[in-house]
């Protein structure tokens, strides 16, 4: 199987519908069974593909991936940790603290189990989404939207928003830099003030920007319908087979885990 992952030298060229279907069915399988082992397996496969392809082929640095993943993982870990706590009126369990008269903050095995399941399920789902977003350029996501007959307006909005995110972020970044050069962070009050100024000018600037972009579209014969080059995708059966196999293994592991 590792051979297979290696041989699929560019996951990017695989038909995005297969990839989206694969990611979604893995997520579904993980969420339905919520069995840690199944989820671990799903995560293992996803990260194997990501590392073997995205990191190696596209030169995406490990550093970036770590940043990309650190916050969500921390967030999931923290919220799962919170779930393991329970407030009871009897101080039993693995660990308990008395908080009020007759009430205890406890961690019992039930809660820990719940937390572990939640953690692995979310981590596996997150890994699947990472797989999808790291191997699928936005055009291909648009292709998926078009195949599932998503309304044209939404598809076009999606593209423009995607492009706009970068422009607005750049704008905000340069305004913040310019403000910092002029002591915007001196006190809490100046900080709040410059934040408000930044937000309002980003708003005005992005309006102006949208006028420019619209003009540029018009000047290139835009008449109300964005069309795309269709890229040829690799839709060979082996990828579908691979996807089905992986989902099957996840289901199998989960069922076995549940039985034993």
């Amino acid at each position: 199987m590792i051979d297979f992952v290696n041989s699929a030298h560019s996951v990017k060229s695989i038909n995005p519908n297969i990839k989206a279907g694969f990611a979604l069915s893995v997520i579904t399988a993980c969420v339905i069974f919520k069995e840690p082992l199944g989820c671990v397996f799903a995560m293992f496969v996803m990260w194997l593909i990501i590392i073997k392809n995205v990191v190696k082929n596209d030169g995406l640095s490990n550093h970036l991936i770590r940043h990309f993943m650190l916050f969500p993982i921390l967030f999931i870990a923290l919220s799962s940790f919170m779930v393991s706590f329970d407030i009871t009126d009897c101080g039993e369990g693995i660990f308990s603290v008395k908080i009020l008269d007759g009430y205890f903050l406890t961690v019992n095995s039930e809660g820990v189990k719940k937390a572990v399941r939640l953690f692995f399920t979310s981590a596996a789902s997150l890994s699947s989404m990472c797989f999808l977003s790291l191997t699928t350029p936005v055009n291909d996501i648009v292709y998926v939207l078009k195949t599932i007959k998503c309304p044209k307006e939404i598809t076009e909005l999606f593209i423009l928003i995607y492009r706009f995110i970068f422009i607005v972020l750049n704008m905000a970044q340069s305004i913040i830099t310019a403000q910092n050069c002029r002591m915007a962070q001196r006190t809490f009050k100046t900080r709040i003030n410059s934040m408000a100024l930044m937000l309002s000018s980003v708003f005005v600037l992005s309006y102006n920007k949208s006028v420019f972009i619209y003009n540029a579209m018009l000047s290139r014969c835009y008449s109300g319908d964005i069309s795309f080059l269709n890229v040829k995708y690799d839709s060979s059966k082996k990828y579908v087979l691979f996807a089905v196999l992986i989902v099957f293994i996840i289901v199998l592991i989960s069922v076995l885990e549940r039985v034993y």
Binding site: N139, F212, N215, A216, R220
Partner: protein
């Protein structure tokens, strides 16, 4: 058909009430290298948007090949096939997710099929040396690359008239040279190229005719040499004298070259005069 683009009594005001163009009468000859110059805010960009039918003048009219611009949506689409415009800031022009998709945008709007578009993209990317960038996301491009991509997006549509708004803006020396080289190639191919620029030495060397704007009014429309030898006019329009012309005048004063020699356009021509 002498003139490819002509305007008559053009007036344009923005919604804010700012009058940006005032009674503009210009004519641009087919195939002639034309520069539009003037200080910031003099109305160059506004004029360009009028020539492409994006700004609809409140008064006066624009002619393309002796035909008045038809502002119906069909008429405008037809005009924009022939008159392309490259904006000053490439970030305003590039909005697709990948370079390939962005270059394809105009072509697909013009009704070319996928394979025809691919073919044309291949050709333009060879010409502009964009081959390695085609599948990059646009936000990962450098300034010079963005400029070339925005040029490609317009050039690939093969318009007869190409308008470039301050093509040297945001670029370093090497990239500016590349872009100027592309502009020269366009003229050689017989396209009518119209650019705005603040680089007077470039304008002197490149342009055959010049249009000077001041506060939205045309103060000069004629041959390049006539403008740059006219100090009064240059001062009036807030423009500076090109270095070459300065040197040329100085050399006449010192008696190094003859007073009746023709004004040089570039270093090479100046050198010839000294010899």
């Amino acid at each position: 058909m002498d003139y490819i683009i002509k305007t008559q009594g053009l007036n344009y005001s923005y919604h804010s009430g700012q009058t940006a163009l005032f009674d503009v009468n210009i004519s641009i000859k087919q195939g002639e290298k034309t520069a539009v110059i003037g200080s910031n805010g003099s109305g160059k960009s506004t004029l360009f948007l009028c020539l492409n039918g994006i700004n609809k003048p409140q008064k006066g009219s624009v002619f393309f090949k002796d035909k008045k611009i038809d502002y119906s949506s069909k008429g405008l689409l037809n005009l924009r096939r022939f008159v392309g415009i490259v904006f000053q800031n490439p970030d305003d022009m590039i909005f697709s997710s990948s370079v390939r998709q962005d270059i394809a945008f105009g072509l697909l709007n013009m009704g070319f099929s996928n394979s025809q578009a691919e073919e044309k993209i291949k050709r333009i990317s060879d010409f502009l040396n964009l081959g390695s960038l085609l599948d990059k996301p646009v936000h990962a491009l450098s300034g010079g690359e963005k400029k070339r991509v925005s040029l490609a997006g317009v050039m690939v549509m093969e318009p007869e008239v190409i308008i470039l708004d301050e093509p040297g803006a945001y670029l370093d020396t090497v990239n500016t040279k590349t872009v100027y080289k592309i502009i020269d190639d366009l003229s050689l191919k017989g396209k009518t190229v119209i650019i705005s620029s603040h680089n007077m030495d470039f304008v002197l060397n490149w342009a055959e005719s010049v249009i000077v704007l001041k506060y939205g009014k045309v103060v000069f429309n004629g041959k390049t040499e006539d403008l740059f030898l006219n100090n009064e006019l240059l001062d009036f329009a807030g423009l500076y004298e090109p270095q070459i012309i300065k040197t040329y005048k100085m050399l006449i004063n010192k008696g190094v070259i003859a007073a009746n020699s023709t004004a040089p356009k570039n270093i090479t021509e100046l050198e010839m005069l000294i010899k």
